[in-house]
């Protein structure tokens, strides 16, 4: 282990530290390699992916695979569907959960704690228990294969309400009181005091909902059946069925499904890390 008194990371590179550094970077490269391989395969000309020994650098670079993917399947539509559903669910859930969490933590009304207990109880029930009845409800509403079915059940979350309520409870009441003196009603307190002060918890909820909605596979698979209503993940699985041995195209499709999420992650890493720590420690 390197000594902790070193001020600079570069100064005093002992042989031990050089070996350590090479080791951690080697490990990082190994973990990254499958992703590089995916990108590489997606850019190889058809047939070239089978050449042995394999090479990481595609020669020639065959960008057309990506065009081919869009021609073979309505990936543009899938992308639109996923974006629409993800954005609607993420912001809808942040809104309904923060409002309910405000009522549960800052307002007084009869039966409050009993209703909240009901929320808590359902937290323990796995989503698969409600999957089948939800499907039946959607069918009853005539919502199968619609945006309503993809979006509306995702707008409410007992977990999100719980997370935000716990955070709201930690905000000093005195701040709220001074808002009351300034003539703020409950909506003013909610919007001007509580929400701005709970950015860490809101960002955490937004990130987790966003990730969950983008990655979701089972629900969109069950609830949609026309090609136009499929999301990226389900579209990719259909694509797999149709082009089972065209690895270039399949890897190009996989890259397309991942890329937006990976970019969101790369530019917001700090929030991801802080969010995990927030929920992990509180949970």
């Amino acid at each position: 282990m390197p000594s902790s008194s070193d001020k600079s990371r570069w100064r005093g590179l002992t042989p031990g530290r050089i070996v350590f550094t090479l080791f951690v970077w080697g490990l990082g490269f190994t973990m990254l390699f499958p992703l590089l391989w995916m990108i590489s395969t997606s850019l190889k000309a058809p047939g070239k992916e089978y050449i042995m020994p394999p090479s990481l650098i595609p020669d020639p670079v065959h960008w057309r695979n990506y065009l081919e993917v869009f021609r073979a399947m309505p990936f543009g539509r899938f992308l639109f569907n996923t974006c629409l559903v993800t954005v609607a669910v993420t912001f809808g859930q942040a809104l309904t959960c923060s409002m309910a969490a405000f009522a549960f933590s800052r307002l007084k009304f009869p039966g409050r704690d009993k209703i909240f207990l009901l929320y808590l109880t359902t937290l323990m029930i796995p989503g698969v228990v409600t999957l089948i009845p939800l499907f039946v409800i959607m069918q009853y509403f005539g919502w199968i294969d619609t945006y309503q079915a993809l979006i509306i059940p995702g707008l409410f979350s007992a977990y999100g309400t719980f997370l935000l309520r716990q955070f709201f409870l930690g905000i000093p009441l005195a701040l709220e009181d001074s808002a009351h003196i300034d003539g703020c009603g409950p909506w003013g307190v909610y919007w001007n005091v509580i929400l701005p002060l709970s950015k860490p918890a809101l960002v955490t909820l937004i990130i987790f909902t966003f990730m969950g909605a983008w990655r979701d596979f089972l629900w969109p698979l069950v609830i949609t059946n026309s090609l136009e209503m499929r999301t990226l993940t389900v579209g990719l699985s259909i694509f797999r069925g149709a082009y089972v041995s065209d690895w270039n195209l399949m890897m190009a499709g996989s890259c397309l499904v991942m890329a937006p999420l990976v970019f969101v992650f790369l530019f917001n890493q700090r929030f991801f890390v802080e969010g995990i720590q927030l929920t992990g420690i509180k949970g």
Partner: protein, 332 residues
């Protein structure tokens, strides 16, 4: 300002406790209760209506469904506990144990087998966290690299691993052939299909959520403890064994519980994309069986009963968490 806070908060706290104790038999109070409800309702309504419609009611409906036989086309038929009996029941036939649904038990075993990756993944996460807690050039970039696979979309990750695990032309078997091992037909063999899925899952999770939690735990351990141990001549392994490991116990416990709960409900995406549950059902998990029962074979009641059996398992782990976790909380 500071004084204000101190003076105000106990008063308000006391007032907050009021409704629970005094709501009964007082007309004025009841009027106030109604006014409070009128204020709170608009905040509560959107989430509460959604909660009742899409969470609470489906839970009740699921119980009702689990005692019926229903294919969605003909009206449901009440069958009592028959679904549960068919699912977990067994009998003895000439001294031999006969399960009513041997497939279910096979898939329970598959699920547990695949959960065998949990200790490996946890050890890996802890190892990576310890590495990242050291000092070396480019640490923050490397943290992102370790973290990246867990940020990917599972469906696409499993697609990628199908390609890496391809028997003839996949990268993994090529690497293995380099060291003189003839790689198996990973996803086509009942022996290797489960390890193959575990490998893909490990890659996708080892640097993720749990590594970050461990890293946070490590950063919370005061450096003086290590300094003192060093002065006492403790070797690195002993410092890990007697300082790091015990102080990370709450984190380890939390990760164990959440991983088991997730593992019991896991395996759907991987099975659907990589193996379709095969070969010969060797990668079908409880979740995949529920999906197939409900949406391929239209056995809604049977699938609902299975979901409740799964819930019982998850609930048992949750109870264990409360029992043991309560004791932990007193310690730390």
């Amino acid at each position: 300002m500071k004084d204000d806070q101190l003076a105000l908060s106990p008063v308000l706290k006391a007032e907050e406790r009021e409704p629970a104790t005094t709501m009964k038999r007082n007309g004025a109070r009841r009027g106030r209760g109604l006014r409070q409800l009128a204020t709170a309702f608009p905040f509560l309504a959107p989430n509460l209506i959604g909660f009742f419609l899409f969470t609470f009611f489906p839970v009740l409906a699921s119980i009702a469904l689990s005692v019926t036989k229903w294919d969605l086309l003909t009206p449901p038929e009440f069958v009592g506990l028959e679904n549960y009996a068919n699912l977990i029941g067994f009998s003895f036939d000439q001294g031999r144990l006969q399960f009513n649904d041997p497939d279910f038990w096979k898939y329970v075993w598959n699920t547990i087998f695949l959960m065998g990756a949990i200790p490996l993944a946890m050890a890996g996460s802890l190892f990576l966290a310890i590495l990242l807690n050291g000092k070396f050039p480019g640490r923050s970039i490397l943290r992102s690299i370790y973290f990246l696979p867990s940020m990917c979309v599972p469906v696409a990750v499993y697609m990628l691993w199908r390609w890496l695990l391809n028997p003839g032309t996949g990268l993994l078997n090529w690497v293995l052939s380099y060291v003189g091992i003839e790689g198996p037909d990973w996803l086509g063999s009942t022996t290797w299909s489960k390890p193959a899925l575990m490998l893909a899952g490990l890659w996708a999770s080892v640097g993720g959520y749990n590594m970050i939690l461990y890293l946070a735990g490590l950063q919370g351990i005061p450096g003086e403890l290590y300094e003192a141990a060093k002065l006492d001549g403790a070797a690195p392994w002993h410092r890990f064994r007697y300082i790091t490991w015990p102080l990370l116990a709450p984190t380890t416990f939390f990760i164990t519980v959440t991983s088991i709960i997730a593992g019991l409900q896991g395996g759907f995406d991987a099975a659907y994309i990589m193996t379709n549950g095969g070969p010969a059902g060797s990668t079908t998990t409880i979740m995949f069986y529920i999906y197939n029962s409900a949406f391929q074979w239209m056995k809604m009641g049977y699938a609902a009963a299975m979901a409740w059996v799964l819930f019982t398992m998850v609930f048992a782990i949750t109870l264990l968490n409360w029992r043991v976790g309560g004791r932990h909380a007193q310690f730390f």
